[in-house]
């Protein structure tokens, strides 16, 4: 597989790189861009980004595997991330996570068979005042790819999942 940025992504790439005194400093935002473009960050993407920025591929790999936001394997359309850290722990986060596991029929980091959802238990989302919180990434939404859903309950989560399903079937 040989990967390359689209023209639009290449323009964004140029803009990102222009903000930094050296190319390597742009690695994190460029990997975000690569993930947006390619859906996840496979080794070919690491190589491609490394070549663009003059960073040895193995060093890109270290970065891509160090940070949790880079998906090294394909994820579902919606990456549902449930916080269970202390504030959410005290307000029902673990229960919501358990509920979603049952509801979606997946384990932690699992993806539903239809490829719509990937479920993951995550660390504190800095939403403790409105715990419990869920972060949902939408692969198809380039405008607003990450949305927080706060003050969640099991009932609200059910509604959220239904909503996302509807969205998925409307614009697959």
């Amino acid at each position: 597989m040989s990967l390359a940025f689209s023209d639009a992504a290449m323009r964004r790439f140029e803009k990102i790189v222009s903000r930094y005194p050296n190319k390597q400093a742009a690695l994190l935002p460029v990997l975000h861009l690569a993930q947006e473009e390619f859906g996840y960050v496979p080794p070919e993407a690491m190589e491609y980004v490394g070549a663009l920025l003059g960073v040895p591929p193995i060093k890109v790999q270290h970065v891509a595997t160090f940070y949790t936001m880079y998906n090294l394997k394909p994820v579902g359309r919606f990456h549902v991330q449930v916080c269970t850290n202390i504030a959410c722990y005290l307000t029902g986060g673990p229960e919501i996570f358990a509920h979603l596991k049952r509801k979606l029929g997946v384990e932690n980091k699992g993806t539903t068979a239809d490829g719509v959802f990937t479920l993951e238990e995550v660390e504190c989302l800095a939403a403790c005042g409105n715990a419990p919180a869920i972060q949902v990434n939408d692969k198809h939404d380039h405008e607003w790819p990450i949305v927080y859903h706060e003050d969640q309950t099991v009932a609200k989560v059910d509604a959220l999942i239904a909503d996302l399903r509807k969205k998925a079937s409307a614009s697959p």
Binding site: R19, Y20, P21, N22, K23, Q24, A25, A26, L27, L28, P29, L31, H32, L53, V55, K59, H62, V63, F66, Y67, T68, M69, Y70, T84, N85, I86, A87, Y89, L90, T91, E123, C124, L125, A126, A127, C128, G129, N130, A131, Q135, W144, P145, I146, V147, Y148
Partner: protein, 426 residues
């Protein structure tokens, strides 16, 4: 008690458009910038005021900001960088997100003024990658400020150059550590560097660098406008000004309040957050993020300033208090905390990489009533192996809460030994 009605960063939060330049300016925003740059304030003068303000770092360590700024070399041929630590990730903490999402221009104005004071022309705001809305709002604010001539090659026509870049993180708690943050900004894994050299001398791209928290810098415009002494007077002795305090967990009204340094924790929990919800009884609190040792319910009359809370055996941390109730097993809570630090250890140094995992595994066994022989002593000894022996403070942050839980809830923890199951929550 100080006047609790004075507000700075949250004064105009009722304006839903506050995040726009127009609204911010309508409420007097960028007045400090005009005053400083057009009114002939020198960089040294601003530094003086910040020193006088007794403003202390709002990221958790509480280091006096004016003194930190003074660590920059007096003469340098290299560029100086200002880096804003907006990698808010300490569990229980959610205050910087409020500033960035709702009042981003306060940070931008603070960045410009601080750059001016530090003779820096470049500022990077390192924002936690998950905080997408905050990143968007900050980027918009930078663009608006640039369009207005507040940011760019010639700020307000004075010839002062100030470039601000919002840089997204990618999911690593350790990047809240200043050296890890600098490494991450350079496009590397967030692995803290050995200190010394300190960032003020060898920081970003090998250049002199000051790293400050979002909230810290957001207060700078008010200090410039009203004077350091006025800010200092808002707070308590050696703890200048206001701070955004948070309460989360099992309280009626979790949230954020801007109040003077030194207010009692009880006031924050009971008056502001409305006390315990659903008739629950408070068992204890984690004062300022999960790395702070917990305190018992009876200890919450402590004043929220750095020295008082230290004397009480914990840390002020980020000033965001997490409240837990009777019925919560502190071993299970500690297990969740230990899991976090194992997950977030960068893996560089042996005591932290191996120690955090070992702590988590053994606390987990303890929670299941199946602790290793050696019991709590063994846990404490691992804490001692980690504490003070690692490159950065993450190891300490993992060990201190465990020590604190054992110290304050020792009976409960001892009851787990050999119990075969959790005696509290089953």
């Amino acid at each position: 008690m100080k006047n609790l009605d004075v507000k700075i960063l949250t004064k105009h939060l009722d304006d839903p458009e506050l995040h726009t330049l127009a609204a911010y300016e309508r409420h007097g925003g960028y007045g400090a910038l005009r005053k400083a740059l057009k009114g002939g304030m020198t960089p040294e003068k601003i530094h003086e005021e910040v020193k006088a303000s007794n403003l202390r770092g709002r990221g958790g360590a509480g280091f006096p900001t004016g003194i930190k700024w003074g660590f920059l070399p007096k003469q340098t041929e290299k560029p100086v960088y200002l880096v804003i630590n907006a990698d808010e990730g300490e569990p229980g903490t959610f205050k910087d997100r409020l500033i960035m999402e709702r009042n981003p221009h306060s940070l931008i104005e603070g960045c410009i003024l601080s750059c001016f004071a530090l003779k820096a022309n470049h500022c990077f705001i390192y924002i936690r990658g998950e905080l997408f809305k905050a990143i968007k709002r900050i980027e918009q604010a930078i663009e608006e400020a640039r369009a207005k001539g507040y940011v760019g090659p010639n700020v307000l026509g004075t010839g002062f150059r100030c470039e601000i870049v919002a840089h997204p993180g990618a999911g690593a708690y350790i990047c809240g550590e200043e050296m890890a943050l600098i490494e991450s900004l350079e496009g590397k894994p967030g692995q803290p560097r050995n200190k010394p050299p300190f960032p003020a001398h060898v920081g970003l791209f090998g250049c002199p660098t000051i790293v400050n928290n979002v909230e810290t810098i957001a207060y700078v415009p008010w200090i410039v406008e009203n004077g350091g002494q006025a800010y200092s007077d808002l707070g308590s002795d050696r703890n200048g000004g206001l701070k955004i305090w948070g309460v989360s967990g099992s309280v009626k009204r979790p949230g954020l309040w801007e109040l003077p340094m030194g207010i009692p924790m009880r006031y924050l929990i009971e008056e502001c957050a409305g006390g315990m919800k659903d008739g629950k009884v408070m068992k204890g609190v984690i004062p300022g993020g999960s790395s702070c040792p917990p305190m018992l319910a009876r200890e919450i009359d402590v004043a929220l300033d750095i020295e008082s809370i230290k004397k009480a055996g914990s840390m002020l941390g980020t000033g965001c208090v997490t409240v837990f109730e009777e019925g919560i097993c502190t071993v299970r809570l500690a297990q969740r905390i230990a899991h976090f630090y194992e997950h977030e250890s960068c893996g560089q140094c042996t005591p932290c990489r191996e120690g955090t995992g070992w702590l988590y595994r053994n606390v987990k066994r303890l929670e299941h009533g199946d602790a290793l022989e050696g019991g709590l002593g063994l846990l404490e000894s691992i804490c001692n192996r980690i504490l003070g022996n690692t490159i950065c403070a993450l190891g300490d942050a993992a060990a201190m809460p465990i020590q604190g839980f054992i110290q304050r809830f020792g009976d409960e923890w001892a009851a787990h030994l050999g119990a075969g199951r959790c005696p509290i929550q089953g």
